[in-house]
């Protein structure tokens, strides 16, 4: 019998190692796998590369990872956070590396990794500082930039419902980067608000098919807080 549920958070994150490239789902405080991140921070792993839309969190596990120097590099579109200068301070002091990526390019590079597309051309960022050093080509009269797929060792995600095959649903703005990251990492770890029986999520309602998911842990923490 296939059962991707693991009994606890420690088992869910087992194997995350120094130097790992970790994708983290979420946009703002919604759809963020807080309990998984907290647990990773507590393991003391270091030299991490984090790939996440907002990596400048003011509190919680992300902030702890930044504060303790566990993060070597961040790949994100918006490293700022209201009420926190934690990231800016580290960046200004040269203690963290930043690869700033336009949000749509970030999403597409992750989707590309998931779908086996090694690279693609896009007009976004053409002629700007964020295209410096990248190959460009004029396609259909538009200047385009070559962008490479982003792969990761681990993806930490949050979903609304999960069944034991790893089929997932998300709630409202909680979807964001979670489904695309599910396919872009070697090992995808999900915290689920609700554990449901196989078949409770109708085929048409599955948002992430279980093929992309390796481990699920039931974490019914309730509603996110901004």
């Amino acid at each position: 019998m296939i059962d991707k549920f693991v009994p606890d958070i420690a088992t869910a994150i087992a194997g995350i190692h120094d130097g790992a490239r970790i994708m983290i789902g979420g946009f703002g405080a919604i759809g963020l796998p807080n309990q998984l991140i907290d647990a990773v921070a507590e393991t003391g792993v270091k030299e991490l590369t984090l790939i996440a839309n907002n990596a400048g969190a003011a509190f919680g596990g992300l902030a702890m990872l930044l504060k303790t120097g566990a993060v070597r590099k961040v790949v994100c579109s918006y490293p700022r956070s209201a009420g926190s200068t934690l990231f800016e301070d580290l960046y200004r002091d040269g203690k963290i590396e930043l690869e700033l990526v336009p949000q749509g390019t970030l999403a597409e590079r992750i989707r590309a990794a998931s779908a086996g597309v090694p690279a693609f051309f896009t007009p976004t960022a053409a002629g700007t500082q964020l295209a410096h050093g990248k190959e460009t080509r004029e396609i259909n009269g538009k200047l385009c930039v070559l962008e490479h797929a982003i792969f990761a060792d681990f993806a930490l995600l949050e979903c609304w419902q999960a069944d034991r095959w790893g089929n997932l649903t998300y709630r409202l703005a909680g979807r964001n980067f979670n489904p695309i990251m599910a396919g872009a990492a070697k090992l995808t770890i999900v915290q689920a608000q609700h554990k449901v029986e196989l078949g409770e999520i109708a085929p048409d309602d599955v948002m992430t098919p279980g093929i992309y998911v390796n481990r699920v842990v039931h974490v019914p923490y309730g509603d996110p807080v901004l």
Binding site: F27, S77, P79, Q103, G104, A125, Q129, G174, L226
Partner: protein, 219 residues
């Protein structure tokens, strides 16, 4: 430069947002950038259906929730609580930016540091001394939306023009801005440069030209 100019009565942010909102045709799909552009939603007359997109994966964004009616799983790009209209839909970030980058969005309303007369936009970084550069979805919106309207003050706080011949700040997108709504004027960006469409009440072409860092053409 403002010190040498006669003081004028500029519009408030709310008046600017209302002025822009009045020009959005029914049926358009519109993304509102964070900050002042978000105010535009408050001024689209309820008899006219305009569909607002939020980059975190929502179409059909409605007004702010009433007191005590917050849905904790619904925020916009500026991380504020919102509501959804009947007919709204949710999707992931790749689809959300796919609809932007694929040219499906009729309009993006963005803030700006500078707009050049060729439509270049600078709105994401103030340069090398920027403590923590952040770009979000601005470059995708600038490159992908069918129309890009910028909502910003006409000059900086110290009176320097923000409508210029060439941007001095790092660019967000090249040649993308089609119209600018400022606190003193509405200006089209055309192949011949800036064209004045409208002024704030009581202002003249000369008032606007004096505060613009490039040649202004009459419509």
């Amino acid at each position: 430069m403002s010190a040498t100019l006669t003081p004028i009565k500029a519009m408030t942010r709310e008046q600017m947002a209302a002025r822009l909102a009045a020009d959005i045709p029914e049926g358009w799909y519109v993304n509102l950038g964070i900050g002042a552009p978000t105010l535009v939603a408050n001024y689209v007359d309820s008899g006219r259906e305009v569909i607002f997109h939020s980059e975190n994966g929502l179409l059909g964004v409605g007004p702010k929730p009433a007191e005590g009616k917050i849905e904790p799983w619904l925020i916009n790009a500026g991380k504020q609580y919102i509501t959804m209209m009947a007919g709204g839909s949710t999707f992931d970030s790749a689809d959300s930016f796919g609809l932007i980058r694929g040219g499906h969005l009729d309009l993006a309303v963005l803030g700006g540091y500078e707009v050049a007369e060729n439509g270049d936009l600078a709105n994401w970084s103030t340069g090398a001394n920027d403590a923590g550069p952040a770009v979000g979805g601005a470059m995708d919106l600038g490159a992908g939306a069918k129309q890009v309207w910028v909502l910003m003050d006409h000059t900086t706080k110290s009176g320097e023009p923000k409508l210029v011949t060439k941007c001095s700040y790092p660019l967000t997108a090249l040649g993308s801005v089609t119209r600018i709504y400022t606190n003193i004027a509405v200006i089209d960006v055309t192949p011949k440069g800036f064209v004045l469409r409208d002024t704030a009440p009581g202002l003249t072409f000369e008032d606007v030209q004096a505060r613009t860092g490039a040649v202004l053409h009459r419509s």
